[in-house]
Subunit: 482 residues, 2 copies
């Protein structure tokens, strides 16, 4: 007979004469009660074994991690905590799990570090099952949001021949024999002999290609892997991460901020509506984790409260100039508690400043906009009425409590002449980006977009604190197992 998912059994509206469930043993107690999980939900179904009529041989094999099949009757449970349980008539061991060897023993409370090293097995724990289901639902929310609004999903290239994006250090991609690369006369690697007959890298952003599509299809978004070869061994950086980059023709900076805020609120609401059990579990986990912290470092809000807070409150929109004033007058600046003291307009904000604004001053998500031109990327739109020496661009960053920057975006410089001048000043190769400049040569128009680091969103929604715990197989300096 066909097996039924544990989720469907637990959601049954009636008892059932004969059901079959398959899954993995989480616990087995009193030689009688199996907690069975099949990944369809964080909840286990209790399977009650008739141990007197089951061979000892079989009972011994019911160990944590073993795959089993149980056939029986779905009856109302007398125990607390579940409505239904399976009265087992037939118990079959599909795959054993040697209790001495299976690394994920709940009793041992494996550390997050240990679980990271066992990324292929950690998903068998409640915690990682919950995280990965939430991640999946959030992904779907992203597509739902944009597709409902008529955005076109665009797969920008992963291998890129363009090295002028300047968003960060890039990984090289090659099919050359690596130990013995062909060389040109001056001793450099001869890329003409490589697969693509030129130097290629892994993309750091699909924005520039995305812009060419927005200028034809109007509203587009990307959602794909992105790479940075930066030696950042922090809890917020990955060498391989997933990024969402919408780009909209005829949108200005205000539209862009509206879109980003509405989008983030939509996907968080979607997770709250569709991941109740998983988020409840993760809220409990976070409370537990925080018990070991000093009172001052604990979150003021529990996980669900924090997510609801983001839904119910507008993000605070603050210009860079206002932010600098706030920071200059702040207690940690005056008392020289910041590592980087803010003295002057033009200073690049560090993560300590962002955290102060979000976590101490405004106590809500903040959108900073109108940054100094010289600390932002070449393609951002120069504001019209700025003082000489204090030029600003229509950039925006969204800062989240505990996460820092979750979104970076801008209205783009749509004026060919202004863009060219900027590129010249920054010595960006016009020839290399000629295709990008075509968007400004032919039918240019105001447009804007942003990038959202998906893992930072998952981090925020799940309440986890290390980004390596919200992607299945994290890539960081020195780590590319699996």
């Amino acid at each position: 007979m066909k097996h039924t998912k544990v989720k469907d059994l637990l959601n049954s509206t009636t008892t059932l004469q004969e059901v079959n469930a398959k899954g993995w043993v989480r616990t087995f107690r009193n030689n009688q009660f199996i907690a069975l999980n099949d990944g369809s939900t964080i909840n286990n179904i209790q399977c009650v074994v008739d141990f007197e009529n089951t061979p000892d041989e079989t009972l011994k094999r019911v160990t944590t991690g073993a795959a089993i099949s149980v056939t029986g009757t779905l009856i109302e449970s007398k125990g607390a905590g579940q409505k239904y349980e399976i009265q087992v008539n037939k118990l079959e061991i599909l795959g054993d799990s040697d209790a001495e060897k299976f690394p994920i023993q709940p009793k041992n409370k494996p550390s997050l570090d240990f679980l990271r090293e066992n990324a292929h097995l950690r998903v068998r724990t409640n915690m990682f099952g919950a995280i990965m289901r939430v991640r999946s639902v959030l992904s779907f929310a992203v597509h739902n949001y944009f597709q409902q609004k008529g955005f076109v999903y665009v797969n920008t290239p992963i291998i890129t021949g363009s090295d002028a994006e300047g968003a960060g250090e890039m990984f090289k991609v090659t099919a050359l024999p690596f130990d013995n690369t062909p060389r040109t006369e001056d001793g450099k690697v001869n890329y003409k002999d490589d697969f693509f007959e030129k130097e290629t890298n892994l993309t750091v952003s699909g924005q520039l290609e995305g812009e060419t599509y927005a200028m034809a299809l109007g509203q587009i978004y990307t959602f794909g892997p992105t790479f940075r070869a930066e030696n950042s061994n922090t809890s917020r950086h990955l060498a391989e991460f997933w990024m969402i980059e919408p780009e909209v023709a005829f949108n200005d900076l205000d539209d862009n901020m509206d879109l980003a805020e509405d989008f983030i609120q939509y996907v968080i609401k979607y997770a709250l509506d569709n991941c109740k059990d998983d988020l409840a579990f993760l809220e409990g986990r976070l409370l537990e984790e925080e018990k070991s912290k000093p009172q001052a470092e604990r979150s003021e809000m529990a996980l669900l409260e924090k997510l609801n807070f983001v839904l119910e409150n507008n993000f605070k929109r603050v210009s860079y100039t206002e932010a600098i004033d706030i920071l200059r007058d702040s207690t940690p600046n005056k008392k020289k508690k910041f590592q980087y003291i803010i003295n002057e307009w033009g200073a690049d904000l560090q993560s300590e400043h962002e955290r102060y604004l979000v976590e101490k001053h405004f106590k809500c998500p903040v959108i900073l906009f109108d940054y100094p031109a010289n600390i932002k990327a070449f393609y951002m739109r120069l504001n019209d009425n700025t003082e000489p020496g204090r030029e600003t661009v229509r950039a925006m960053d969204i800062l989240f409590p505990g996460i820092g920057e979750i979104v970076g975006g801008s209205e783009r410089e749509e004026r060919y002449d202004v863009l060219i001048e900027k590129m010249k000043a920054l010595e960006i190769d016009e020839e290399e980006l000629s295709w990008y400049l075509d968007t400004r040569r032919f039918g240019s128009a105001t447009h804007a977009g942003f990038g959202l680091g998906f893992e930072r969103l998952v981090l925020f929604v799940t309440g986890m604190t290390n980004i390596r715990d919200v992607i299945p197989f994290p890539r960081t300096p020195g780590n590319a197992e699996f």
Copy 2:
């Protein structure tokens, strides 16, 4: 005032006093009729300019490709072909497009080759606008299908430290200084100094990592970029393509075939329901293209007919052994018209044989299953009752007319001992795949999955004939522009 999308204006149920539309000029005739497109639909909205009261200066700038803003009244159109049009009160040029320089002039009927070289601009044509909208809707259909069924979307790693998958030639990924790589004593590149401190490649498949997740979450799917460094300059191969790989615990080969067939029918139906205008256009394009072919080479069915045929007919399931019998007795085999003559059981099927089966013999999509073990991958489940010397595995390939293989999958070898024996025979490093073997060490169970090349699906649904035309920025040998 806020602009309204062309799609919404065309779908209006009433005339409207004042509307604003923004988009790009497709054509401008009689100094009066602008066909305006904004990418929201393949259809243009006709904008009627009061040319007597519009400065010549402005009218001259209304050229193909120019970005404009029109404000006016949405009225019922007297012309044929559209219900509504805009009576323009105010015409504003947002971005010029020099008619002498803009490469995409509809009059010139640019070739597909020329358009490929201008991949950043080709999306401004009706054809590529339609293809990319259909591609986007198909992507969403993929997520819809799996999410509705409770599958968890898993992002398997793009950069992989595992080189034992054996699905094809891999691209290397490195952050080493390429002209001057550090070396070990024996003169080889010292990967210990590289970013990940080991040799890394771009993934050829997420299957093995996906299996580890299926054995915890039950039903998972991947949908991400995949890479092959193979020098295949054909109309069906890309070096970078998107692949969908579902993997389901407790599914056997029959379940796997059922899932693949149901999935493909769902996504095609979804496109038919949601891309009517684009598919109608693409059907017309295909008819036009086929006019230049000899009668015998033309499709027997028009595009929509072909898509509906796939929905309405079960895929024909044929064992490899039956297929060999059919091929051996076929006219092209007897008359030695095949390049590779089929004499014996065990022969690997070539594309000419697959095409014969699908296009001549069965005339419908075909699922071939139970292939000889020695022409298939190590992880496929050995059939229990096969004759010695004629061992088969529970593999399946789905073959589509005009496309060839669109799906490859199998039930996986879940028995640790059998799998190890197979790996030994093929000299696959057990140590390297120890994490994969853990799925068989701990709680192993029957499971199955498949991979579907997304671009081949888009090719089939759009009726295009070259895979380079269904991905925004194709990567093939010698091509990595943008």
